[in-house]
C-alpha cells in the first residue's frame, strides 16, 4: 500500500509538469494584453510597450517560462500582473471561502442524498422512488443561478430569514458563517443531492439483487441492517467516486454560485484573472486545481480499500 501511495505521488510530477507547460503556452497564445488592462483606454502604443517591458512581457517566451518555473520550484507562484500582489497570498485568501462552502455542501448533500437513494432503491418503482427520481431530474436540470435566485427571493427578500449575500469566515462568527453559507450550500447541494441520490439508487439496485442479500434476508436479518450494512457498503465504491469528484469540482470553483451570493472564492478569482489576462494568477489557479484533482483522486482510490476489503493495491 505504501509503495502504491509513493508511486501515485511521484506520478503527480509529470502530470503537473505537463499541466504547467500546457497552461503557460496556451495563455501566451491567447489574444489579450495585460498591459492594456493596466494602462486603460487612453494609453498610446509606446506607453503600452514600456509597461510590457517593465512587466517582462516583452522577454522571449523561454525566458519568461524559465523565470516562472524557477520561482515555482522555490514555492513562489509569482506576483499578479494587474494588482501587483503575491499570487500565493491571493489564493490563500480566496481558497478558504471555497473550501468551507464545498465542505458544507458535500456534507448536506451526502446526508440527504444517500438515504434518499437507499430508500428509492429499497422501494423500487414506488411513489417514493418516482419522487426521488423526479427530484433528481429537476435538481440536475435547473440552472444553479435560477435555484439561487429562488432561494434568495424566498428566504431573504420575502421571509427575511437570511442575508442576501456575503461571506463571514467561521472563525469570526459561526452563526454569521452559517447564515450566509446556508443558501449557497443548499443551492449547490440541489445538484449534488440529485447526482449522488441517482448514483446511490442505481448502485443499490444492483446490489439488492445479489444472492447474499437474499441470503441475509432469508436468515432473518433486520431490513435496516441488510440495507445499510450489507447492501450500502457493497454499493459504496461508485458512490464514493461521485462524492469525491463532486468535491473536487466544488473546490475547483463554482463561479456562478460565488457570483450570485457574492462569495470571494477561487472561482471568481480565476474568472477575473482570465478576463484580465493576469497570467501568473491563472497559472497558479490551474496548477492548484490540477493538484487538488490529483490528490482527491488518490484519496478516492485509497478509500476503496477501506470500503471494500477485496480491493488491494
Amino acid at each position: 500500500m505504501l509503495g502504491y501511495i509513493i508511486r501515485r505521488i511521484l506520478a503527480v510530477i509529470p502530470v503537473m509538469t505537463i499541466v504547467a507547460v500546457f497552461v503557460f503556452l496556451l495563455l501566451r497564445l491567447t489574444p489579450g494584453d495585460p498591459a492594456a488592462i493596466i494602462a486603460g483606454d487612453m494609453a498610446t502604443p509606446a506607453q503600452l510597450d514600456r509597461i510590457r517591458d517593465s512587466l517582462g512581457l516583452n522577454d522571449p517566451l523561454y525566458v519568461q517560462f524559465i523565470t516562472w518555473v524557477g520561482n515555482l520550484l522555490q514555492g513562489d507562484l509569482g506576483t499578479s500582473i494587474i494588482s501587483n500582489t503575491s499570487v500565493t497570498g491571493m489564493i490563500s485568501e480566496r481558497i478558504w471561502p471555497t473550501v468551507n462552502i464545498a465542505l458544507l455542501t458535500i456534507i448536506i448533500s451526502v446526508l440527504l442524498a444517500v438515504p434518499m437513494g437507499v430508500v428509492a432503491a429499497w422501494r423500487h418503482k414506488s411513489w417514493i422512488d418516482y419522487g426521488v427520481m423526479s427530484f433528481s431530474v429537476l435538481g440536475f436540470s435547473i440552472p444553479v443561478f435560477v435555484i439561487g435566485y429562488i432561494f434568495i427571493q424566498i428566504f431573504s427578500n420575502e421571509l427575511r430569514w437570511l442575508p442576501v449575500q456575503g461571506y463571514i469566515p467561521p472563525s469570526e462568527s459561526i452563526g454569521g458563517f452559517l447564515a450566509r453559507a446556508i443558501l449557497p450550500c443548499l443551492t449547490l447541494a440541489t445538484i449534488y443531492v440529485a447526482l449522488i441520490a441517482r448514483m446511490t439508487r442505481a448502485s443499490m439496485l444492483e446490489v439488492l439483487g445479489e444472492d447474499y442479500i437474499r441470503t441475509a434476508r432469508a436468515k432473518g436479518v433486520k431490513e435496516d441492517i441488510v440495507l445499510f450494512r450489507h447492501a450500502l457498503r457493497n454499493a459504496a465504491v461508485p458512490i464514493m467516486t461521485i462524492i469525491g469528484t463532486g468535491f473536487a469540482l466544488l473546490i475547483g470553483g463554482v463561479v456562478v454560485t460565488e457570483s450570485v451570493f457574492n462569495i470571494p472564492g477561487i472561482g471568481r478569482l480565476t474568472v477575473d484573472a482570465i478576463l484580465a489576462r493576469d497570467y501568473p494568477v491563472i497559472q497558479g489557479m490551474i496548477l492548484l486545481t490540477s493538484g487538488i484533482y490529483v490528490l482527491i483522486n488518490l484519496l478516492i482510490d485509497l478509500s476503496y480499500t477501506f470500503i471494500d476489503p477485496r480491493i488491494r493495491y
Binding site: P31, T44, M90, L104, Q165, P169, S259, D272
Partner: protein, 544 residues
C-alpha cells in the same frame, strides 16, 4: 474483546469517519481564521458600504486611466488644483499667481497639508508628482512640451516656467479625469511612470487600509484625522473635503441582481451605477433613493481604422456615419429615454465647448438612402468591414449590433466578430490588415469630462501612428488643436472648438453616438452626496 469488536463495527467506523470530517471542518474553520475580512468596524464607528462600478485591482492612479483607480486616487490623494461644477479651476492644495507674460505660474501650498505617515507635504513632493504625471497624461505631455522648468524654490513654492503660453494649464492640471495629477511623496513619485507604485501614502481625506485590501473584492478607507479641509463648500472636485464617517468600504459584487437585493435589504448603503433595466426593482423599496449624480454622464462613440479600406476613404466614412441613428443606438443600449439624450456635440452636451454642427443626420434618425448614394459615389467595392463586438461588457454590447444592421441596410458588407473586451483592446492596437487580425470599426464609451476639450479627447489626435487607435493622419486637426492651445479667452476657445467640431463631422475622426446617464442608488439614511462625475465620500453622512 468487546472494545475491539466495537472498534471494528461499521457503525463505529462511520462514527470515526464523521469525527474525521468534523475535525477537518473544524480545522478548516480555524485555518481560515483572520484570512478573510480580518477586521471589521469597531462598535460605534460609522461605516458606509458601497458597491462601485468595478473591483479595484490597480492601485496606481497615474499608471492607469481606469475610473475605479481614479476614484481610489481621489479618496487617498489630493490635487493642487481642482475643477468645480462650473468647469472652473479652483485652488485645492495650492493657490497660484501667473506672471504678466503668462509664462510663469507660481503655486503656493496651503498650510496644514500632511501625508498619512505624518510627514508634511512639500513643494518637492508636488514637483516629483507632476513630473511623473507628465510622462503618462496626454494633456500633461502637451504642457511639458512647452515647459522650460518646473522646480520647488522652497518648501511651499512651486515655480512652473513655460517657453510659450499655455492658457489651459490650470484646466489641465485641475481636470478631474484621466489622469488627475495626484500629489504623492517624492520618494514614491520619483519612480518610473511605467512601473506601478507600491507605497500608497497620500495626503487626501481618507487613508487606504492596506492590510484589509483584497484585490477585486474589497477595499477599506479610514478617515484621515489630520486632514484639514478647505473652508469653501464642496463643488465637484473642488472645495472642502469634510469627512463625516469613520470608514468607507468598497465591495465588489459581480451580480447586478444580487447588488440590488443587498441594497433593498440594507446590507449595503450605496450602488454607484444601477443598470437602467433593473431600476423597476428598486422602485418598490421605500428606503432606497435612486438619483442622478452626474448630469453629464457618458458619450458612446464609434471609431474607424483610417489605415485600411474601406474607411481610408473619407466619403465611405461619411456614408457609415450617415447610416447611423443615435436614437436607435441609445434606445437599444439604455432603453429608458429618461436616461439618455441624442447629442451631436463631440465635446459633449452640457459642456462649455458644446456645439452640434454637422450632426443633424446622426441625431435625427440617420439617412440610409443618403448613405447608399454616398457609397455609390465613392465606388465602394464591397470590401468587408470588420466590426469588433465585445460580448462581456454590458454597456458595449448593443452598439455593434445596431450599427451592423444600419450599415448592412446602407450596403456595407459587415463582418461582425464577437470577442471578449480584453481581446478587443489587444486587437484594436494591431495595425495589421483587417483580414489578418486587424479591424475596421469598434465602439467604446467615455465619461464626458474625458472628452470635453480638444486637449484631452484622444480621438482628436491626428498624429498618424502616434494617434489613438485608428491612427488618422490629420494635419488640419493638429493645426486646430494648436490654435486651441493658443486661444487665451473662453470665447476664442469656443470659436476654435466649433471649427474642430465641424472638421470632425466632415472628416469623421470619430462618430459621437449620444450621451447616457447611469443613475446611482443609496439607502435614504445616506445623505450629503455631492453631484459630480466622480463618486466621492467626503461630505457624506450616515444616520441610524
Amino acid at each position: 474483546m468487546m472494545k475491539q469488536r466495537a472498534c471494528s463495527h461499521p457503525a463505529s467506523r462511520a462514527l470515526r469517519t464523521r469525527s474525521g470530517v468534523a475535525g477537518l471542518l473544524a480545522a478548516t474553520f480555524l485555518a481560515s481564521a483572520s484570512l478573510i475580512h480580518p477586521a471589521t468596524a469597531q462598535d460605534g464607528e460609522t461605516t458606509i458600504t458601497a458597491v462601485m462600478h468595478s473591483g479595484l485591482r490597480v492601485l496606481d492612479p497615474i499608471i492607469t486611466t481606469a475610473h475605479i483607480t481614479r476614484n481610489h486616487g481621489y479618496m487617498i490623494y489630493d490635487v493642487l488644483v481642482a475643477t468645480d461644477e462650473n468647469f472652473e479651476p479652483q485652488p485645492q492644495m495650492a493657490d497660484w499667481t501667473i506672471s504678466d507674460d503668462n509664462l510663469v505660474y507660481t503655486f503656493t501650498l496651503r498650510d496644514g497639508l500632511t501625508f498619512h505617515d505624518g510627514e508634511p507635504v512639500t513643494a518637492a513632493d508636488a514637483v516629483a508628482s507632476l513630473n511623473r504625471w507628465g510622462e503618462r497624461d496626454s494633456g500633461g505631455q502637451l504642457i511639458f512640451d512647452v515647459t522650460e522648468s518646473l522646480e520647488a524654490t522652497d518648501d511651499k513654492t512651486i515655480v512652473w516656467t513655460l517657453e510659450k503660453p499655455f492658457p489651459a494649464l490650470l484646466d489641465t492640471i485641475g481636470k478631474q479625469s484621466a489622469i488627475p495629477p495626484f500629489i504623492m511623496p517624492e520618494r514614491v513619485a520619483s519612480g518610473s511612470a511605467d512601473e506601478a507604485i507600491t507605497d500608497y501614502t497620500g495626503s487626501g481625506p481618507f487613508v487606504f487600509v492596506e492590510e484589509e485590501y483584497e484585490p477585486g473584492v474589497s477595499v477599506t478607507y479610514e478617515k484621515f484625522e489630520d486632514y484639514v479641509p478647505r473652508d469653501e463648500e464642496p463643488s465637484w472636485m473642488a472645495g472642502g473635503k469634510d469627512v463625516k464617517v469613520d470608514r468607507v468600504e468598497w465591495v465588489t459584487m459581480p451580480d447586478a441582481q444580487t447588488t440590488i437585493n443587498a441594497l433593498i435589504s440594507g446590507e449595503i448603503d450605496y450602488i454607484e451605477q444601477v443598470q437602467v433595466d433593473l431600476l423597476p426593482l428598486l422602485e418598490t423599496s421605500q428606503d432606497v433613493v435612486v438619483e442622478t449624480r452626474d448630469d453629464l454622464g457618458y458619450q458612446t462613440i464609434g471609431r474607424m481604422n483610417f489605415l485600411y479600406p474601406p474607411f481610408d476613404d473619407v466619403k465611405i466614412r461619411q456614408a457609415a456615419m450617415m447610416a447611423l441613428s443615435q436614437e436607435d443606438v441609445l434606445g437599444t443600449l439604455i432603453g429608458n429615454p429618461e436616461y439618455y439624450t441624442t447629442c451631436g456635440a463631440i465635446f459633449g452636451c452640457g459642456t462649455p465647448l458644446a456645439d452640434e454642427t454637422g450632426s443633424e443626420t446622426l441625431t435625427s434618425g440617420g439617412d440610409v438612402e443618403g448613405a447608399k448614394q454616398l457609397l455609390e459615389e465613392a465606388g465602394y467595392d464591397n470590401t468587408p468591414v470588420v466590426l469588433m463586438q465585445p460580448t462581456d461588457v454590458v454597456s458595449l454590447t448593443a452598439q455593434p449590433v445596431v450599427a451592423a444592421q444600419a450599415l448592412r441596410e446602407a450596403g456595407f458588407n459587415v463582418d461582425m466578430q464577437a470577442m471578449d473586451w480584453q481581446t478587443l483592446v489587444t486587437r484594436r492596437a494591431s495595425q495589421a490588415e483587417p483580414s489578418e487580425g486587424g479591424w475596421n470599426l469598434f465602439f467604446t464609451n467615455w465619461m464626458v469630462p474625458e472628452i470635453n476639450s480638444p486637449l484631452i479627447s484622444p480621438m482628436l489626435n491626428g498624429r498618424g501612428d502616434e494617434a489613438w487607435f485608428g491612427w488618422p493622419t490629420d494635419e488640419k486637426i493638429e493645426e486646430l488643436r494648436a490654435e486651441f492651445i493658443a486661444a487665451d479667452t473662453p470665447e476664442k476657445q469656443k470659436e476654435v472648438a466649433a471649427k474642430i467640431q465641424a472638421h470632425n463631422m466632415e472628416n469623421v475622426n470619430y462618430i459621437p453616438l449620444g450621451q447616457y446617464i447611469m443613475p446611482q442608488a443609496r439607502r435614504d439614511n445616506i445623505t450629503g452626496m455631492i453631484p459630480s462625475p466622480v463618486p466621492v465620500f467626503w461630505n457624506v453622512e450616515k444616520s441610524e
